[in-house]
Amino acid sequence: MKIKLTVNGKKYERDASESKNLLHFIREDLGLTGTKEGCGAGECGACTVIMDGKTVNSCLVLAVEADGTTIQTVEGEAKNGKLSKLQTAFKANHAVQCGFCTAGMLMSSRALLNKNPKPTVDEIKHAIEGNFCRCTGYTQIIEAVQDASGQLKKRGGLKRA
């Protein structure tokens, strides 16, 4: 079925298989492999993209359902070869370890900051609650979002005994 959609500001027109989900369509048909599959069942959030301004698990959206929508994936976060403030904050706050959850985490954080430029820690936790991370323990990710929104008093936190 022919679908038209805008992804990261670029218009696409493609013939999408009706039984393909948006995650696989983005990865295979559009060649944007930054968005990952972690469970295929809408639990882990690794496949999170922003669709018409809202985060969705792209493994639970059919490609054909995305006809006429505007989508942002992780590849759309940096502009003109420069990391966004959010990405820079993730890097500066050690919010990336294995990186597999990172694309989804960024999209959930991006959607939050788009709606709420100065979120509280609680609001950040709720926004990323549907994104599993097994490596970081979330804390440095939360600090990165605080940092990106100008709310982090000091980076880091290891104390010496």
């Binding site: 079925m1 009706e18 039984s19 393909k20 989900n21 696989h24 295929g40 069942a41 809408g42 639990e43 959030g45 999170t48 809202k54 985060t55 969705v56 698990n57 493994c59 639970l60 959206v61 059919l62 054909v64 359902e65 959930s108 709720h126 926004a127 609650e129 549907g130």
Partner: protein
Amino acid sequence: MLQDFGYLAPKSLTELYAVLKKNSGKAIILAGGTDVIVNMHNGCVAPATLVDIKKIAELGGIKYNSKTGLSIGATVTCVEVAENKDVIKHYPLLAKAVGEIGSPQLRNRATVAGNVCTASPCADSSCALMALGASVELSSADGVRAVALKDFFLGPKKTQIKPHEVLTRITVPADMTGAAYGMNKLKRIKGHDIALVSVAIAKTEKIMRVAVGSAAPTPVVTKDLAANATLKETLSAVSAVAKPIDDVRASKDYREFMISNYVEQIYTELFNAKGCKK
């Protein structure tokens, strides 16, 4: 996805009825997809066709009227209900219950109607809706019929929806506007989880209802209780409908205990007039 299936997206109800009739038994309605696609992933269902109802304008929209109450279209998402000003003001129990379903990503797609139609015994929205005395409108080429939600569920994943029928709207009566409420649900983690048990209470000056989830083959609700029912009467009414079991998530004993505990806790808050909070 690993299964092959077709996709149809009718643009009107008439078209939808025709599609349902033609694909009788082999089509499943696709609204938010957060249950259907997961069930397909797990191999629980294998429809030949998914029928997307999101392009049907009549199925959208949240309407509120002080005389007729609340009407939620079948394609309205959880986040739309949770953030709707009228729902928050007039039916805060529903806003809260729906706002706690799943994760943000799931709430942005899942529809309340879909949550109801999935008919899981632990459906978060159903308890709140049943406590509020909600009904559903089931439509087909032959017309529309309203079914009280308390009568809608027939068993786990089974509802009154006939073949060729579709749930088009959920209605919540005006006489529950501004009802005092409380709800609580037991989960294994603070993050998104299926409710191990859940309790929702809505109380007006005239009546009180307690709905319980994950305690029977369907979500259940007590008979209408007097607004000044005692705690003992309330607990008794609850134990008449809530019969939890042992499973991998929790034991029967703990579920029974927590149901009573939640009822007692919410009842106390409501009757101490401390306001409507968990």
